[in-house]
């Protein structure tokens, strides 16, 4: 399987994705070049994180940039030119305004530029206008819609998309997603097949089609587009998967150490470095060959593989010191030695992870997740959650299970609903009423109004698989040691045979579904179905496999990405996959977006 994974990863049309990165980099540099001389670049911190994937700080410095993070505090710099690079969110304007007002009060004469990412918006300008600052700032745009996270993963970096859509009714993210896909189409061609499930996804499809009508991607030359199919899926459709603890290597790293933009930060001592108390950043991406090999595997297996590698290395070493070797054997040995730092790195990380995974609380939680997903013993689950609240366990942990519980039961009976809400407020404070309100609005923790479909769905899609062999998996269920992620199951069907065979199931899920042809292909009957058998269609002229772009509206977890990569590596799979998401999430970060304190 490892070989297969490697094979698939090399082939993807990643070159073009890398071009995206270069383009974005160039655009940013051009913006900076056009503002002559030394300047202070003030970035909103969240954007700064994503920008680190686009451009290195050193490169910014080469262009005469002094880097600052945007906050309410005024900026201390000698530069007379201040360039704000911010996401176009009205609440960030407040900081900019207070910055400028402060400078004014100090009599500082500065030149202000505000660059909005990805575009200027009426709301933000309105705020500047109301503060009477719009004449003092030069406004520009930095059209960054997509950030490539890895060679097959794109992120729109819309952290709050899911919450904004579900709770606030603010659907700006959907336009952003459509725009991003439309931009991709300008370099990959119009995507001829589209499948969407969920309210937001169908809306994205709708906006995308509008954009195509307004500003068509030229597809007159009828060249086979590189991306054959676009699959859009709402997070709302499957809220079960992200709330389960991920058991792949990368997933676990994210659960416990929080992967941020392809790296984790942890104590240097853990990595065997001699700097006491210092933090160190460990990059985690596909340039690390070993990581590429093991990231998608079940953690149990990773531990074994690492052990094997270490042992064989040790063996080689002893052989080397005892017997005489030919030159070529020496060469092989040295080559292996080169991978030593990687092996050490991952052994350290894996070791660190086991300190978490062996905790009884974690095992208990896994157990409970499984029980909830199995959906058989309501009372046990209820008691467990109640106890967590009484023990005042961290609120995110509690909510994660509680939401999982509510979602699989399509809500809780009113009595229990009110009881648990009261216990939560009593234990964690009344300010969390907003959080509860948000969750209720989003339908994540609510009063039961109808019978739950979960059992039917679980059975029909074979979501719980007994006897999962995590070492030699034959199904995606390996990523959760027995639970096949629901979202990926749907996508598996969508890729293989479209929505039709699972239509009955789709009807049980929230939101409409859609399956259409687009562009020049909308009227051509010859491209009828996207089936794994008719590989003739799936080939791009130069023999590479065609691509399927899978977009998660509302976030995706590493475990799900791993499951998709696994699907890709399976025999009979006619496509390579690119995954795009509003943000890479895990249960905790997802729950956190809904948490809002009344007084906060």
């Amino acid at each position: 399987m490892v070989e297969l994974l490697l094979q698939f990863r090399g082939k993807i049309a990643t070159a073009k994705l890398l071009i995206l990165r270069e383009q974005s980099q160039k655009e940013l540099i051009n913006i900076l070049k056009n503002i002559r001389g030394k300047k202070c670049l003030v970035i909103d911190p969240k954007l700064g994180d994503s920008l680190s994937l686009i451009i290195q700080t050193s490169l910014l410095k080469e262009h005469g940039v002094e880097l600052r993070h945007l906050s309410a505090d005024h900026i201390q710099t000698d530069c007379t030119k201040v360039v704000y690079l911010v996401q176009s969110q009205p609440n960030l304007m407040r900081h900019i305004c207070s910055n400028i007002h402060h400078d004014e009060s100090k009599g500082l004469q500065r030149e202000y530029h505000v660059y909005f990412v990805p575009r200027r918006t009426v709301v933000c300008e309105k705020v500047l206008e109301e503060e009477k600052l719009h004449n003092m700032v030069t406004i520009g745009e930095y059209p960054l819609y997509i950030v490539p996270m890895d060679e097959d993963v794109l992120s729109f970096e819309l952290d709050l998309a899911y919450k904004e859509c579900q709770v606030d009714g603010d659907t700006s993210s959907l336009w952003h997603i459509a725009k991003a896909i439309h931009k991709l189409e300008f370099s990959f061609g119009v995507i001829p097949n589209l499948r969407a499930k969920g309210k937001a996804s169908v809306r994205v499809a709708d906006i995308l089609n509008r954009m195509q009508a307004e500003e068509p991607v030229n597809s007159s030359d009828m060249v086979m587009p590189e991306i054959n199919t676009l699959i859009l899926l709402d997070r709302e459709v499957d809220m079960v998967t992200p709330l389960c603890s991920q058991l792949t290597y990368e997933g676990l790293l994210d659960e416990f150490l929080n992967i941020k933009n392809g790296s984790v930060e942890l104590d240097a001592s853990i990595m065997g470095l001699q700097q006491e108390g210092k933090k160190t950043k460990v990059p985690l991406n596909s340039t690390d060959k070993l990581f590429k090999e093991i990231r998608d595997l079940n953690f149990e297996v990773v531990v074994q593989i690492l052990r094997q590698k270490a042992t064989s290395m040790k063996q080689d070493y002893t052989e080397m010191t005892t017997t005489s070797q030919s030159v070529s054997e020496l060469k092989d040995f040295v080559k292996k030695l080169n991978s030593l730092p990687e092996i050490t790195r991952h052994i350290n990380l894996a070791q660190h992870l086991t300190t978490f995974t062996s905790k009884p609380s974690f095992l208990g939680q896994l157990d409970m997740e499984h029980t909830i997903v199995e959906s058989q013993s309501y009372d046990i689950c209820f008691d467990y959650i109640e106890e967590l609240i009484h023990k005042q366990e961290p609120l995110t942990t509690v909510l994660r299970l509680l939401i999982l519980f509510s979602v699989t039961n399509s809500g809780l009976p009113k009595k229990h609903f009110d009881y648990l809400r009261r216990e939560l407020l009593h234990s964690y404070g009344f300010e969390h009423i907003t959080t509860l309100n948000n969750l209720e609005k989003a339908g994540l923790f609510k009063k039961q109004e109808s019978r739950s479909n979960w059992l039917t769905i679980k059975r029909a899609l074979q979501l719980v698989v007994e006897d999962t062999d995590t070492a030699n998996p034959n199904d995606i269920s390996y990523v959760f040691s027995g639970y096949a992620p629901f979202s990926i199951r749907l996508i598996q069907h969508a890729i293989r045979s479209g929505w039709r065979p699972v239509e009955e199931i789709l009807k049980l899920l929230p939101g409409p579904h859609l399956e259409t042809k687009r562009g020049a292909f909308s009227n051509s009957p010859s491209f009828d179905s996207l089936s794994g058998v008719s590989t003739g269609i799936a080939k791009v002229p130069d023999g590479r496999r065609a691509l399927v772009l899978v977009v998660f509206v509302g976030g995706v977890t590493f475990a799900e990405i791993s499951a998709l990569r696994f699907l890709c590596s399976q025999e009979g799979m006619a496509y390579d996959l690119i995954i795009a998401t509003t943000k890479i999430v895990n249960g905790q970060t997802l729950v956190e977006t809904f948490m809002e304190k009344l007084g906060g």
């Binding site: 407040r94 309105k126 023990k391």
Partner: protein
Amino acid sequence: MANVSVAAEWQLLYNRYYRKPELYPMRWKHVDLARHKVAGAPFGGPVAVIRDDSKIVQLHAESALRKLRLFNSAGHPLADAVWRHPGGRLIGMSWNDDLTLVCVVQDGTIYRYDLHAQLVEPNISMGKECFEQNVADCAFWGNGVVCITEQNQLFCIPDFRNPKPVPLADPMIDEPPRCIAVIEPQYTMSGNVEVLLGVADDPVVLVVEEDGVQRLGEGLLRGPLQKMVVSRDGKWLASFTHDGRLLVTTSDLTGIIIERECESSLPPEQIAWCGMDAVLLYWDDMLLMMGPDGDPVHYLYDEPIILIPECDGVRILSNTSMEFLQRVPDSTVSIFTIGSTSPAALLYDALDHFDRRSAKADENLRLIKPSLPEAVEACVDASGHEFDVSRQRTLLRAASYGQAFCSNFQRDRIQEMCKILRVLNAVRNPEIGIPLSIQQYKLLSPSVLIGRLINAHRHLLALRISEYLGMNQEVVIMHWACSKITASLSIPDATLLDILLDKLKLCKGISYAAVAAHADKNGRRKLAAMLVDHEPRSSKQVPLLLSIGEEDTALMKATESGDIDLVYLVLFHIWQKRQSLEFFGTIQARPLARDLFITYARCYKHEYLKDFFLSTGQLQDVAFLLWKESWEFVKNPMASKGSPLHGPRIKLIEKAQSLFAETKEHVFESKAAEEHAKLLRIQHELEVTTKQAIFVDSSISDTIRTCIVLGNHRAAMRVKTEFKVSEKRWYWLKVFALATIKDWVALEKFSKEKRPPIGYRPFVEACIEADEKAEAIKYIPKLADPRERAESYARIGLVKEAADAASQAKDGELLGRLKLTFAQNAAASSIFDTLRDRLSFPGAS
């Protein structure tokens, strides 16, 4: 022979031939140039004519009112307008680059007319000084003008696109200059216009700029200049001296290039460059062409003429004809010179023989075989320079005849030339009257030509040409649509819409919004609304809908587009325009707009949001806002704990509570708010009694814990009963609180108070977490579930006890897990293996 007759019309000047074909007989009637001021535009542009008010003329059966009349180059009338402007005499009149007629009158007002003799608003003023001093003379260039006042002050407008008068430096002269000329800004060093003045009694030329005056030509000139003209590229100056000589110098007057005696010492009426290598001087009835050397050429005219300089020659306009004086192009010379034996001439001759079926054709061809490509090229080139269509055709035929025998000639050269000639011939049609030469056409560029055609309302021709040349037709159709709207005041909206749509659909991606905007500007709001409905781009459509007052449609379209930015645009627009209540009503009906409003208002317009919720009866949302506000008191530094500010805070929460209570659906929230208020009161009291500010804003559970930690069990009990805290929670809280302060005695006492409602697990967990094994062991045996016992033993490292308990539980999976826990401990591991083997549970992996 044809060849002879062609060359017979040429004149030789020095070593170059010049020709002067008639482009058009003038179609106009009763126009006497002598009585008029005339302005002719370059590039075959139109001619403007108005009776000269500086001359005394006799009126023949015509109105005393002066009329400005516009004609094309063939004398075909385009438009006219009665001249009724105040401001004194018309000083100068000229066409600028975009074919606007610029008229300067005495008081410094500039009136502008378009091709249809419509006044272009607004009129421009040259400023107060010009108004007071009167303009005496002016000089134009492509896009600007310089005026000189009667007091010899200069003012210029550097660019009509931004018509602001700029004063130039004072030349400090008392008498008006003899002559004036300008060097266009694009040819000067400074990038600003330079004005050359020939002054009386002073053998210099003054160069006036914005920031200074220079004297040039001192020592070079022997007397004042009477007349001058700058060449097209701004490099050369041709001037007529006081003593009747033509002088060509560099434009900075550093060197004399040519100096020729003229036959008259009277200054010529007009002087002009003909291309770059000859100068024309016109006196009453004689036109004199001077070259660098050799005898000048004389042309005699018995009627007045106007010289209109072009880039490659001069058009000569008289009452009856329009001629074009140009140097004969080299290719034409090589073919048509008498006795020419150039390959091109022989090729042209060969075609003639071929047409007459003479064998000499072949002979000619063989003669020029090696240089056939040049011959073909010359024929193609010469055809381009011809105005006569039949001669164009003959030359092209000769070229294609020769091309058949040459293998290495660029095939599309002839085709290209045909294309150009078709366009040129089309615009040279007297109806259109744009006699462009090929050189002028190339310099002007097809797109500008199309622009001129649509300005002249020749839309069909413009459309055909742009189609023929493969250019974007959007400009043409767009202009047509706008002109159509302007011109169709009497056509009903629906009919006009159909007419417009019929044409607009020809061009994909055309902006319906732009056409609609024009319709709106013309007061046809309804038509605009109908048009904008066809605009596919919401980003163009929505702003326009707003500007024509269709706010509801705008909101609908913006919502449909999914572009939140557009929705906000409409939202703010309506917000500003309408009364609050009306605004609230509008957005309440539109969920997306409403939600966006709320999102924005939450951030920046808190109070206003409250009004909104009140107006729509969403009392619970008002309640949430009030509840949220209650926290503001905490953030406020004045609200130090225990201060009377607690009162208002609690009042706010109570207000929220009563609002929640208004609706049945919010009983829970109402209850919660009530409890919150109660909690704050109790916490406040506790802070007063304990004199420790650690209670306010902690949760009920935390309050209980804090009380127990402080040893205040009565208070803890009170909170418990006040809030009906369940026994279950109470036990967890108290056990953990006691473990925190390591009061193991109290813990044990508590465990014995009564049988704990949730068993002894809290006790075990609290002890284990506090790492007190000895304490833990007290409670583990009391656990009811053997599995829990096994796990608890395992957690404190008691392998044997754990194994025993596990085997009691008969749970293989548990054994496996315990084994894992003891993975490092080989002995422990084996215990579990043996146990598990003994049990041999299925599914124990």
